[in-house]
């Protein structure tokens, strides 16, 4: 089956009013979502990213601190999984809890086709 990557964006969008309890409940939602994907055979593998980092840019190899993105565009992690088609992968991404906080999921097919 083709492989897809979900790229999650939207670090800390709309969390200012969240209580500690609600934050923990949000994590539980992610686990429930990933567990459902696993149970249905989509083989999800998630990879969180720390917010710190460096960016190396251009032929001059200029190194800058941090990803420098707007909070809503900051990548918080990604997940690879298998799905029958792009449409199916998009359908699966609809259940991602990051959307509830105003974040986004980018769904990208990988190019390791079995030609």
């Amino acid at each position: 089956m083709p492989k897809y990557v979900f790229v999650f964006r939207g670090a800390a969008v709309e969390t200012s009013g969240m209580s500690p309890e609600e934050m923990q409940a949000h994590v539980r939602k992610w686990y429930a979502w990933a567990d459902t994907l696993a149970a249905r055979g989509f083989e999800p593998k998630g990879q969180p990213l720390d917010r710190r980092g460096r960016t190396i840019r251009g032929t001059d190899r200029v190194v800058t601190d941090g990803p420098y993105a707007e909070t809503k565009d900051l990548v918080i992690g990604n997940m690879s999984l298998v799905a029958a088609s792009l449409d199916e992968a998009v359908e699966l991404a609809h259940g991602c809890p990051v959307l509830e906080l105003g974040g986004s999921v980018e769904v990208r097919p990988t190019t390791d086709y079995d030609v």
Partner: protein, 412 residues
């Protein structure tokens, strides 16, 4: 990747919040409580973000580590933005580390509860500050505990924080007289903390035994110091023990609330009931009869009755009469009315319920549930149905809603 249900200990975020805000506020001074809250919120936000895709091996160590470097960052920025004004101490990293590492120690949390109960603030504001800053409750959770609007809680927090800013350095309260004066606020806060654990407002998780355990632990610590070990503390610990003993039987296999009369009493925790009785005995030593004594007395009657039918209702009613005279609390009146029904009949109970004049009860699901219960037992199915429907709309969590749904199905 599948997730062990135990990967995240229940209430971890909330408990860490309480410990860390207490530790940081102690270190930085109460005028910087907002900074302490920002640091902890930031650390928990990072945890939420990062743990969503993979739970950490050691969640507590993760939060501690993150809180430490977030604190350094936030303090530096605050010092840059406020070079002269309200001087923020720059703690050494050792000071920061040892302050945060003490977070497991309930004693410092308790000491801080006394510290923030300043005489210039009213008791409601004390309790609100304690629940928000030291127990990690959200304004809306606190609002539900007090049966008020969230706006009211926001205003109280605003007032309370402003006063804490004026106070500057927070000192441990050691004067026994001052402690005595502040103790009622601390006990009220522990009571509401326990309550939130016992029948919480979390829509998905109806009970939080860890929060009940925290409240029992903190109340027990009050007994270890001479200045705070009063008979009414034994009473509140007894009350907590009797209630906590029933936790295992309060939900059935489908996650639906089980009413007291239908609970499997063999599942009640005998050891906790014994412990409650010991504290109840110790509470009888003074000459003061507090609401905690009366509530513990009522809970003891329930805990000791072999079944609902052999419950000593007249004794419970006498305790409720005293409790209502003392507190004038509409929720007490509501519970009392149900006991009136047991002693003097359904119609008397209904009259007692209707006679309660308090606008807060209109939005309290238990009031409508009580009316529904009496109507159902009197054979007025249509009336009962209307009351249960109203109660179901006002519930705080799924377990309660399902319990009402079951009652409604029974009536059809």
């Amino acid at each position: 990747m599948t997730h062990d249900a135990n990967a995240l200990v229940a209430d971890l975020f909330r408990r860490e919040w309480g410990h860390l805000v207490a530790a940081l506020t102690r270190l930085l001074g109460p005028s910087h409580v907002a900074l302490a809250e920002d640091v902890v919120h930031d650390a928990l936000e990072r945890a939420m973000e990062s743990w969503s895709l993979a739970p950490p091996r050691d969640p507590k160590a993760w939060i501690l580590q993150t809180a430490r470097w977030r604190a350094i960052d936030h303090i530096r920025r605050a010092r840059r933005e406020q070079p002269r004004g309200d001087a923020i101490p720059e703690p050494s990293s050792e000071a920061l580390e040892s302050a945060l590492a003490e977070r497991e120690n309930g004693a410092s949390q308790l000491a801080m509860m006394f510290s923030i109960c300043d005489e210039r603030l009213n008791p409601e504001t004390h309790v609100t500050l304690i629940l928000r800053l030291l127990c990690g409750f959200s304004p809306s959770e606190i609002a539900r505990a007090f049966l008020v609007e969230t706006d009211t809680i926001d205003r109280r927090l605003h007032r309370g924080r402003a006063r804490l800013r004026e106070l500057g350095q927070l000192t441990n309260v050691l004067d026994p007289e001052v402690m005595r004066a502040r103790q009622p606020s601390v006990m009220q806060a522990l009571y509401l903390q326990f309550n939130e654990g016992f029948h919480g407002s979390d829509p998905d998780v109806p009970m939080h035994p860890a929060i009940c355990t925290d409240a029992i632990h903190l109340a027990t610590l009050l007994l270890e110091s001479e200045a705070t070990s009063h008979p009414e503390v034994h009473a509140i610990v007894a009350l907590f023990c009797f209630h906590a003993a029933r936790l295992p039987s309060r939900l059935d296999g489908d996650g639906v609330y089980v009413a007291l009369g239908d609970q499997d009493r063999s599942r009640w925790d005998r050891l906790l009931i014994e412990r409650g009785l010991t504290h109840l005995g110790a509470s009888a030593s003074g000459d003061e009869l507090t609401r905690w004594h009366l509530e513990a007395g009522i809970a003891a009657e329930h805990a000791l009755a072999p079944d609902l039918a052999s419950t000593s209702w007249p004794r419970i009613l006498a305790l409720y009469d005293q409790l209502y005279a003392l507190t004038n609390n509409p929720i007490v009146a509501c519970n009392r009315a149900l006991v009136v029904a047991e002693v003097h009949g359904l119609e008397e109970g209904r009259r007692a319920l209707v006679a309660i004049e308090d606008h807060k009860l209109v939005s309290y699901h238990f009031y409508w549930s009580a009316l529904g219960d009496l109507a159902e037992r009197a054979g007025h199915a249509t009336e009962a149905k209307a009351h249960y429907e109203r109660a179901a709309r006002l519930t705080r969590n799924e377990a309660e809603r399902l319990a009402y749904q079951r009652k409604l199905q029974r009536l059809v």
